[in-house]
Symmetry: C2
DNA sequence: CTCGCCAAGTTAGTATCTCTAACATATGTT
DNA sequence: AACATATGTTAGAGATACTAACTTGGCGAG
């Protein structure tokens, strides 16, 4: 069954994927709260009732889209580590840089996941994806501290770093660093914090 | 003119304040995205058209409510400093504690201001209120570092601290510290970070 | 090959929401 | 006492999320 080359325009081919992509574009363009299912339908070229054959409701559409984004994010974090010597703070910094980049590049997704829509979006798969991301950080922190397992201290420092990078992402999104220099300052900030949290 | 003791029920007395309070309650109860003007009207006991005599639109209602909250926040930060010796990191920690407490206690307001509704809420008064808050932190950081003015270094370290506390607030709201101990751990984390960022 | 099933579309309709327009009332000033 | 104005009201337009009932067409069984 060749999904991609359907000729009929009555059946879309892969509407589910089409709607997720439309959702992504619209959330990035108008923000999480400006998004509407109707808009997504118009963009995908289907009637406003069509999505409900694929998603329970608006939230499930958003969750599906965010899950896709989280997976992209995870892959990017892994590739960001390539070529950097293991057990060095540079690896932690690289993860932080990728985290912030994601928050800025896929700002709508970031805000959807972390900006307090969480109540509505509550979904075990989202929670799991988040913990997986944190797990990557914890592993690098452990390596930096010379630990082979995730001890309480590793978890504690990892959480500190996550808090910092997470907050930095939000402040950058809100343009708070506009008067504080650009990318250079951001990069210095990331490695400076990593050093401070990992030392001792 | 005695605003508070109007007998007529046709004229509310102080509907503007009543709506702001209703907005506050509902945003805390249902979250920023679950809030509706209609609900606020029902809670305040007026028709759905009434708010538009006092506010341009829904966003202006939210902005007014958030501004009230920011002022409460500012006052609390100032009182949190009382009795703590000047120039000590304990003052910075106290501000951080109050920041996190506010994010948890007035969670709806916090998310409205910082969670990405900002596009819509863009308002110079909100921006100003935020910078005023940051100013309080910068002053304490300067005192800790023995500076009399806000130097670039002071601003840099203040920004680091803000990032951390800001991120910590979001993660706590999202329950990420549930598996990491409670208030004790939170307190230790705050002072630990303050030390690490202020030392050197 | 064709027949019927069922997945995946459609149109139509309901309930709700924001905001506007036109009208009503009460307050306090002259 | 009368009016001007601020502050309410009702009615309604246009958009939205979602449901119900109908339609289409691809695919497998005979």
């Amino acid at each position: 069954m060749n999904e991609a080359l359907k000729k009929s325009r009555y059946h879309h081919g892969d509407l589910r994927a089409g709607l997720i992509e439309a959702t992504r574009l619209l959330v990035e363009e108008k923000g999480p709260d400006g998004f509407s299912v109707s808009d997504a339908c118009r963009l995908a070229g289907v009637s406003t009732a069509a999505p409900y054959k694929h998603f329970k409701d608006k939230n499930e559409m958003l969750v599906a889209m965010v899950l896709e984004g989280m997976e992209r994010h995870r892959v990017r974090m892994m590739t960001a580590l390539e070529g950097i010597p293991e057990g060095t703070p540079a690896r932690v910094t690289a993860l932080g840089r990728e985290y912030v980049d994601f928050a800025l590049r896929e700002n709508g997704i970031f805000r959807l996941k972390f900006g307090g829509f969480t109540d509505r979006l509550e979904d075990p798969r989202l929670q799991a994806a988040g913990e997986q991301t944190f797990g990557i950080v914890l592993q690098e922190v452990a390596a930096c501290l010379g630990e082979t397992t995730v001890t309480a201290d590793v978890r504690r420092r990892g959480f500190m770093l996550w808090s910092f990078v997470h907050g930095l992402s939000f402040l950058l999104v809100d343009q708070k660093l506009s008067a504080m220099g650009g990318d250079v300052e951001r990069e210095a900030l990331l490695s400076d914090i990593a050093d401070r949290v990992l030392k001792d």
